[in-house]
C-alpha cells in the first residue's frame, strides 16, 4: 500500500486444499492490451459450498503488533465503472472508455462497488498483541453465492475473502479472490431469466441494425438482415420455457436478393453442448464469399435509463466457403466446450446475454448479419 511504510504484518490466506482445487484462468482484465496476456489462476467454488482456510499472520522481526481484533470476512460485490451510474454517460460509446486502472490488477480501480450482495464476517481473535506468527483457521459454512463471478468490460462480479487486522492506526487488510461458478439446469436457467426476457428481447431486435461486430469500424456498408417481427417473437425463450427444446427456425432475407432459413436445434445451450443446425438456401442472388457464425456476448450495465451495452465476439466460426445456390443445405456444428464463454446472467445492475450471429460476407466485402439470442448456462 505504501512504499515508505512497510506493513508490520504479513497476512497470508490459504484455502483448504487450494492446490488440488479446480482453478480457472482469468485474464487480468483491462482494456490496456499489454496486460491481456496476464492471467491469474483462481480457485473455483460453487453456490452453497463451504469456504474454509487458514489465515497466517507473520510479524516482522519479532516486533510486537498491537491490534484491536482480527476479522475475516467473505465479500461478494458487483463493481461498475462509476461514471455510468450517472445519467449523461448513456451516449458514450462503450468502447471509448479508456483505462486508468492500476497495474496490480487485483481489483479494477475504475470500478466501484455498487452492491455488496454478500458480506459475512466474524472475528478470528479478540484485541490483543501479536508477537509471533500465528495461524487462524476460518470457515464459512454452506456459503450461498447468488451470482456467478464475472469479469466484464464495465461490470465485475467479484468474490473475495478479506482478513483485516484492526488497529488504532490504519487497519491492515489482505484480500484473496476466488471464483464462483453457478451450475444450472435448463429449468432454473430459464426461470432466473424470465423476469427480464421480454424487455431484453425487444431491445435485441432493435439493436439488430447496429453493427454486431465491434472489430470492424466500417459502418457505411453495413446492411441489416431483416428479420420478421414474428420471428423475433418466436425467438422468445419464454414461449417454450419447458424442458423440451424445440428447434428454432428463422427466415432471413433481403428482398429479391437473399432468402435463407436458419435453423438450430434449440435456444438454450449448456456451455458444454454443441450447437447443431443448418442453413437452407431458398434464394441466392448474392455472391457470397463466405458465411460465419459468431457468438456474441452482450454485457448491458447500469440502470434502465442509462445502461451501457458492450458486445464482444466470443466465437467466430466459418461455416461456409463460397456461394451456395437455391436448395442447398449447409450444416452447422459448433462445439462450445472449447471456448471460454460467459453464461447468461441477470441482476439489477447488469445483465449478460449471448447472441448467435449469422454473418454473410459477399464478394464486395459487404457484411450482412442476423442475430438471435440464445441462452447459455453452465452445467456441471
Amino acid at each position: 500500500m505504501s512504499i515508505f511504510f512497510k506493513s508490520p504484518i504479513d497476512i497470508e490466506i490459504l484455502f483448504d486444499n487450494e492446490e488440488s482445487r479446480k482453478h480457472v484462468d482469468i485474464a487480468a482484465r483491462s482494456s490496456n492490451s499489454s496486460y491481456k496476456s496476464m492471467k491469474e489462476s483462481l480457485p473455483v467454488y460453487e453456490d452453497g459450498e463451504s469456504l474454509g482456510g487458514i489465515v497466517t499472520l507473520r510479524v516482522r522481526d519479532g516486533k510486537k503488533v498491537d491490534h484491536l481484533g482480527i476479522k475475516v470476512s467473505v465479500i461478494g460485490s458487483i463493481d461498475m465503472i462509476k461514471s455510468h451510474g450517472s445519467g449523461n454517460s448513456a451516449t458514450k460509446k462503450p468502447t471509448s472508455t479508456t483505462s486508468s486502472s492500476s497495474s496490480n490488477g487485483s481489483i479494477d480501480v475504475r470500478k466501484n462497488s455498487v452492491d455488496q450482495f454478500l458480506c459475512q464476517s466474524y472475528d478470528l481473535c479478540a484485541a490483543g498483541e501479536l508477537q509471533h506468527s500465528q495461524s487462524f483457521p476460518f470457515l464459512f459454512r454452506d456459503l450461498s453465492k447468488r451470482y456467478e463471478s464475472y469479469k466484464g468490460r464495465n461490470v465485475d462480479v467479484a468474490y473475495y475473502v478479506k482478513v483485516t487486522v484492526m488497529r488504532k492506526s490504519t487497519d491492515i487488510s489482505k484480500m484473496k479472490k476466488f471464483w464462483v461458478y453457478l451450475y444450472n439446469s435448463i429449468a432454473t436457467a430459464s426461470n432466473t431469466l424470465s423476469a427480464n426476457e421480454l424487455q431484453a428481447n425487444s431491445k435485441g431486435v432493435a439493436s439488430d441494425v447496429r453493427d454486431a461486430d465491434d472489430t470492424t469500424n466500417n459502418d457505411t456498408l453495413k446492411n441489416s438482415v431483416q428479420g420478421g417481427a414474428e420471428d423475433g417473437n418466436q425467438v422468445l425463450p419464454a414461449t417454450h420455457s419447458n424442458n423440451e427444446p424445440k428447434p428454432v427456425r428463422l427466415d432471413i432475407g433481403i428482398e429479391n436478393c437473399l432468402h435463407i432459413e436458419f435453423e438450430y436445434a434449440k435456444s438454450q445451450y449448456s456451455l458444454k453442448e454443441v450447437i447443431v443446425g443448418r442453413i437452407y438456401f431458398l434464394l441466392t442472388r448474392l455472391r457470397i464469399k463466405h458465411m460465419e457464425l459468431s457468438l456474441i456476448t452482450r454485457e448491458s450495465s447500469g440502470l434502465q435509463t442509462s445502461n451501457v451495452m458492450t458486445d464482444s465476439t466470443a466465437i467466430r466460426y466459418e461455416i461456409m466457403d463460397g456461394s451456395s445456390v437455391k436448395g442447398e443445405t449447409i450444416p452447422i456444428r459448433l462445439f462450445l466446450s472449447g471456448y471460454d464463454l460467459t453464461p447468461n446472467m441477470s441482476c439489477n445492475y447488469f445483465n449478460v446475454k449471448n447472441y448467435l450471429s449469422l454473418v454473410i460476407i459477399d464478394e464486395d466485402g459487404r457484411r450482412y448479419f442476423k442475430q438471435s439470442e440464445i441462452t447459455l448456462y453452465r452445467t456441471r
Binding site: 461456409m320 466457403d321 456461394s323
Partner: protein, 944 residues
Amino acid sequence: MAYADSPENAITVIKQRTVLMNRCLSQHKLMESLQHTSIMLTELRNPNLSPKKYYELYVIIFDSLTNLSTYLIENHPQNHHLADLYELVQYTGNVVPRLYLMITVGTSYLTFNDAPKKEILKDMIEMCRGVQNPIRGLFLRYYLSQRTKELLPEDDPSFNSQFIMNNFIEMNKLWVRLQHQGPLRERETRTRERKELQILVGSQLVRLSQIIDDNFQMYKQDILPTILEQVIQCRDLVSQEYLLDVICQVFTDEFHLKTLDTLLQTTLHLNPDVSINKIVLTLVDRLNDYVTRQLENDPNSISSKTYSDVDVFGTFWDFLTVLNHERPDLSLQQFIPLIESVIILSLKWYPDSFENLNKLFELVLQKTKDYGQKNISLESEHLFLILLSFQNSKLQLTTSSALPQNSFNISKKHFIFQLISQCQAYKNILALQSISVQKKVVNEIIDVLMDTEAEELTENESESKPNSSGPTSHLVIEDKVQVQRLLSICESLIISRSGPAPNVASSDANIDEVFFNRHDEEESWMLDPIQEKLAHLIHWIMNTTSRKQTNKNNPRFSLEAQLEILLLIKSSFIKGGINVKYTFPAIITNFWKLLRKCHMIKEYLLKKRADNITLLSHYSNLSKQMFKFVSRCINDIFNSCDNSCTDLILKLNLQCATLADQFQLNEISYDFFSQAFTIFEESLSDSKTQLQALIYMAQSLQKTRSLYKETYYDSLIVRCTLHGSKLLKKQDQCRAVYLCSHLWWATEISNIGEEEGVTDNFFRDGKRVLECLQRSLRVADSIMDNEQSCELMVEILNRCLYYFIHGEEAETHISIKYINGLIELIKTNLKSLKLEDNSATMIANSMDELHITGEDNMKANTNSDDGSGNIDKDTNVAIGSDGTYIQLNTLNGSSTIIHGVVATTSGSKLLHRLKYIPVYHFQRTCEYIESQREVDDRFKVIYV
C-alpha cells in the same frame, strides 16, 4: 488466416509447414503439428488460383496429410484417441482447413475396426457441404474420395455406392455451378477450367464402377437411375456430354447392353445443345467392342446368337423414331452422324441385315425431305458425302463368312454392292443430293466396286487356300435387277447436263461444275476421268456377268441374258447425251464380244448339230440383231455429238465392217463400209484426218474376204482410191494412192487358213497396182518441194521393191526397167537437191560416206555442224507415213517429237537436217537392194 500472394509462395509455405509439422510429430507434439497443418491448409483457401495451380498445391498437401495420417494411425490409442481428435479439429475456425483435417482424422479412424465407420463417413460427407466454392469443393470431395478409397465398409456395398454417389452428385453440382461464376466475358475461360476439372468428377463414376463390380441388379435399380437423373437435372452441356461419355466408358458392355433403352431414353432429355451423336457413338463403340470380344472368345457366337435376347437394333431404332418425333429441332448435321453411328452398330451386330440399313436410310430420307432439298447446306453435304460413301473410319464391315483382316476392301465391295441392290432408300437419298455430291459418292462407289487391287489380292489368296475365300473373292451379279439398280445409282454421272442447269448457276457451282460445263461447251476430247470410269464400269459389269460362276445355284448368264443386260446399260447410258462418245465405245466393244461369242456358238452348232436349223437361225438372227444394235449405237454417238467425233464413228464403222466380214455377213459389212464412206465424205473435212481415215479404210478393206461377191469390194476400193487421189495435199494424194495400190494385191491372212503360194484365189490385179504407183509417182514428181518429192519417190521405190519381191513381173507389172528408171530419177533429183544446197561439199562428204552405217553418219553430222550442241548430237530426224517430221531422240528412243511445221530457231538447224532425210532413206533402200542381191538374183539387175 491469410494465404500466400502467389502460388510459388504458397508452395514455399506449404513445404515449410510440412517440415514443421513432421518435426512436431516426431516430438509427439500433436497440437502444435495440427496447428502447422492448419496453416498449411489455409493455402487451399486462396480464391485466386487456377485449377492447375490448385491441383499442384493439392498434391503437395495430400502427401503431407498422408504423413499426418500415418502418425495418427500409429499412435492411436496410446497417445491420443482419434474420436477426440475428430472433435478437436472441428474447432478450426476456417471451413476448408477444418474439413481437410476432419477427413484426415476421420479416415485415419476408419482404419480401426472399432470405429463407427458409417457414422464417420456420413458425417464427413455431410460436413463437406460447408464448402460451396466449386473448385475448393471439388478438390475437397476428391480428397474425401481418395482417402476413403480403401476404407469403405466391406460388407455393405449399397452403403458404399450411396456414399460415392452422394459425393458424385455434389461434385457434379459444384462442377456445373463453376460455369455460372464470374463475369460473362470469362465464360469460355470457365468452360476451359471446367474441362480441366472434369476428371475429378469422372473419377467418382470410376469408383462406382469398381465398387459395383458385376452387381447388375444394383446398377440397374439404384445406381444408373440416380446418376442419369442427376445428369438430366443439371441441364449443363459440358457435364452431360462428359458424364454420359464416362458412363459409357466405365461400366461394362454387358450392363450397357441390358440397360440400353434407359441410356438412350436419357439422351432425349438432355440439353438441346448436347451432341447426342457423340454419346450414341461412344455407346455404339462399346457395344461393337463387345461383339468383337465375343467373336474373339468364340467365333461362332454371332451365329449362335448368345446375346440375342436383346434386340439391339430394335432399341436403337425405337430411340431414333422417338428422337425424330420429339426433337424436330435436330439439324441434319446432328442427325446424320447419329444415323451413321447406328449404321455402324447395325453392320457390326447384324452384318447381313440390309433391311435395317434400308430403314435407317429411309429415316434420313424422310428427315431430309422435311428440311427441304434446297436447305442442304455445305456442311451437311459433307456429312451426306461421308454417310453415303461409307468413309467413316469406324465402319467395320464383316460379312457372315469370316473374312481375313486384310480383305476390308473386298468386304466393302460386297457390302456396297449388296446395299445398292437391296436398299431403295439409299438411292432415294442419293437422288436428293446436289449433283456434285452425287458425283463424288458414285465415284467413290465405283472405285470400291472396281478395286482391282483387292481383287488381285484375293486371287492370290484364293490360290493359297482355294476353299475358304474362293466364293467371296468376286462379286456376283445375280440378275438384271441388280444391274438396273447399279445403273440407276450411277445416273448422276451418266446424265450430261447440256446448257447451264438451274442449280449450277446458283452459289453451289463449284469447280467441278465449271469444269464440266466448259468441257461440254468446247466439245473437245479432253480426258474425262469420270466418263472413263463409267466405261470401265461397263466392262466390269459385262466381265462380271460373263465370269464363270463357281456357285452352282447361279448359272452362268446366257448370251441372251447378257445381251439384255447390255441393252439395259445402253438404254441407261444413252441419257448421257454428249457423253456417249466416252461410254458407247465400251458398249459397242461389248457388243463385239457378244457377237464373237454368238459366232462361236454358231460355228459349234454347225459342226456338231448342223441339223438343228431353228437354233442356227436363232443365232444368226441374233447376231444380225446385234449388228443392228451396234449400228444404232454408232448413230446415237453421231446424233449426239454432231461433228466432234466423226473420226471415232468412222473407225467404229470400219471395225464393225471388218467383224461382219469375218462372219461372212457381206451385206452388213458393206453397209458399215458405206456408212464409213458416208461419214468420210460428209463429215471429215480435215485433210490430215482424211488421210488417216483413208489409210485405215484401206487397211480394213484389204483384209476383207466376204465382199468379193456382188462386186462390193471393187466399188469400195475404187472409191477409196478415188478419194485418195482427191486429197488436198499432193504428198497426201501420193501416199494415199500408193497405199491404195495394195487394195488390188491381197495378201495371206494365216488366221483364216490362207497361205501364200497355196491359196490361189487371192484378189490380185497387177495392172491396177502399177497404175496406182505410176499415178503416185506422177504426183510426187509434180511436187514443188524437192525434199518432199525425193522422199516420196524413195517411198514409191520401196513400194515397187515390195511388189517386185512378192510377185512375178508378169503378175505385178513392176519391171526391173521401171525400178531402174525410178532409181535413176531419184538420183537425178538428189543431185539437183545437192546443187541447191550451199554447203555442197558437206553433202558430197556425206554422199561419199553413203555406205557407212548410221552411227558413222551421226558422227559425220556432228563434224559438219561443228558440234553445235547436244540436241544435234542426240537427235535424228525421220519422216512419218503422213508426211510429218519426227525427231527421234536417240538417248531414249521411245520419245518422239512431232514437228508439223519447223519454224523455231532451234528448228532451223533441224530444217537444215531435213535435206538429208531423202538422202538417207535412199541410201538405206540402196543398201537393202544390195543385201537382197545375195538371196534374190533378180536384184542383180537393179542398178544402184
